[in-house]
Each structure stands twice: as C-alpha cells, then as structure tokens.
C-alpha cells in the first residue's frame, strides 16, 4: 500500500516538475484585450454614476469591482478551456500553479480594500494606486511561467500605481487614473501573449 502511495507521489512529482518548466498558455490574448475594454468602459461610465467618488466610495468600488469580476470570470473561463486544449495532461497542474502565483495578490487586494474603505475611509483615494501595485505583484509572480517580456506590463503597473499614490489626494479617484493604466497594461499583456508566447505547436500537450 505504501509502495503504491509512493508511486502516486512520484508520478505527481514528475508532473509538477514538468509543469514548473512549462510556459503557461492558459491566458488568452483576446480575453486580455477584452479586460482592457472593460477598463475603458468602466472609466467612461464612472463620471455618470459616481459624481463624487471621495464621498461615495462604495459606488466607486461597485463600478471597478464589477469590471474586475467580469475580467476575472472571462480570464478564468479562457484559462480553463485553453489549458485543457494546450496542456491536456498537465492542465490541472498548470492551472493550479497559475492560481498559486496570482491568487495571493487578488486576496491581499480584496482584504486591503475592505480595510481602507471601511476602517480608514479618509485614505480611500489610495485605492487606484494600491490596486495597480498589487496587480503588478501578481503579474511579477506569474512571470516565472510566462514569457520573459511579461516584466514590461508588470513594471508599467508598478510605475502607474506608485504615480497614482503620489497624486496624494482625491484626484487619484479620477476615472482615467484607473482606466488608462489598466487599458494600456492589459493590452500590453495581450500583445506579449500574442507575439512572444510559445508557438502553439511547441507547447507540450
């Protein structure tokens, strides 16, 4: 029995080792471009729905939370289907690995948002910059199994995030402080995946 368990462990270890050294092809360029579009739509809609985001942070949050949820849903569905198609035997391992790299930053972002909005609402203007910095950390963490050029969008998010924080007041809640970086960043990610990712025929399985 122990031998059989050990054999299963060995098989799992081999699969994990291969997954570690395989470029993840689950993120789709089209889906990433769509998330850029969601950012533009949200930034366009924001002034009509939230006239004073500093005093109605929950409404501001709702708009961007909706965009983030839609993006996450679309990315997850694409990730699942592409991964099944491109990594077949490694699919579950690859998805698990991608989630392990990116989910911690999403979790940290969510928790910090709750704390900022409900415990220290006078610094809610920090949210856009904070989200971009957190997102950049997620992209940096994912770089290990993505093309090396993915560092460029990660650096962009870090730079725009820090710049948004440097604004230092409620002007940071202006719609395009979120709209422009996320539209640009996501388009950049889409371009990297489209032009710099491994060719489909080179992908393992």
């Amino acid at each position: 029995m122990t031998d059989l368990r050990r054999a299963l462990g060995d098989i799992h270890a081999i699969r994990k080792q291969v997954a570690d050294r395989t470029e993840f092809r689950g993120y789709g360029p089209v889906a990433m471009a769509c998330t850029a579009l969601f950012a533009v739509i949200s930034a366009t809609v924001q002034p009509y729905v939230v006239s004073d985001p500093a005093h109605t942070p929950v409404r501001y949050l709702a708009i961007w939370f909706a965009a983030a949820t839609l993006s996450l849903l679309l990315s997850s569905v694409t990730m699942y289907t592409r991964s099944r198609r491109m990594h077949s035997g490694l699919s579950d391992e690859m998805i698990r690995m991608a989630a392990q790299q990116f989910v911690p930053s999403v979790g940290a972002g969510l928790l910090m948002t709750v704390v900022l909005v409900f415990a220290i609402p006078h610094v809610v203007w920090m949210l856009p910059g904070f989200w971009q910095v957190i997102f950049s950390l997620g992209v940096f963490a994912s770089c290990r199994s993505l093309p090396k050029t993915m560092f460029a969008p990660a650096c962009l998010y870090l730079g725009t995030g820090v710049a948004a924080m440097a604004i230092g007041d409620t002007r940071a809640l202006s719609p395009w402080v979120m709209g422009v970086p996320f539209a640009l960043g996501q388009m950049m990610i889409a371009a990297v995946l489209r032009f710099d990712g491994a060719a489909e025929e080179d992908v393992d399985a």
Binding site: M1, L4, R5, A7, L8, I11, I14, R15, Q17, V18, R21, T22, S88, G89, L90, E201, D202, V203, D204, A205
Partner: protein
Amino acid sequence: MPEQEGRFAYEGLDRLIHERARLSVLTSLLTHPKGLTFVELKAMCSLTDGNLSRHLSILEQDGMVLIEKGHEKNRPQTLCRITAYGKKRYLEYLETLEQVVRDAAKIAEGSKANSRGRMRPAEA
C-alpha cells in the same frame, strides 16, 4: 453492476515508453527541457553506451527525441532533447500509469478491509 467495458484495458500504456531504460531516458529528458548530453544521460539512467544508443535511436525514429551532434570546446558532443510530440506522448502515458496505480491502490485497500472484516468474528 458490471464493470465498464475496457475499464482495465490501459491502452495508454505505450509499449515504446513502457520499457525501463526508455522510461528513464524520457523522464530525464522531460525534466531537463534544455536537453542533456549523451554522457549526462548515460550517468543519470545507469546505462551503457551501447544500450543508451540503441534506446535513443528507437525514440528518435519515433520522433520522441531529437539528437544533435555538435562540438563543445573542440570535443564532439551529442545533445539529446525531448520533442513536443514526445512530451505529449509521455504525459499521456503518465496519466494511464497513474490510473493503473490508483486502481491497484483501490484493490489493495478493499482486500485489506475484507481481511479485517474476516478477522473480527475469530477475534471475538
């Protein structure tokens, strides 16, 4: 309920891979995607020159490995790499092998439980 037809056929157990030496070669190459030299591979798999050459040529003929002959510091060097096709077939093989082990583990668990059940009345 009758067992699903072909449930234990294990057709994914590729004969070409299901040979100890070739399994070692492919596993070594799979975990070193940049490739391994003939000497490194020979040491990792504990094979003789002749044995390794024979297995490599079988795998190469089937398109599972790529063998590049070149020079490193003016000395001839043979670099072996697994192909995308080889990787795909190996992973399919691994999936079936995992199923075999899972089935065996299930049977072993079942027979252990049965023997425990038979022991109880005697113990009482």
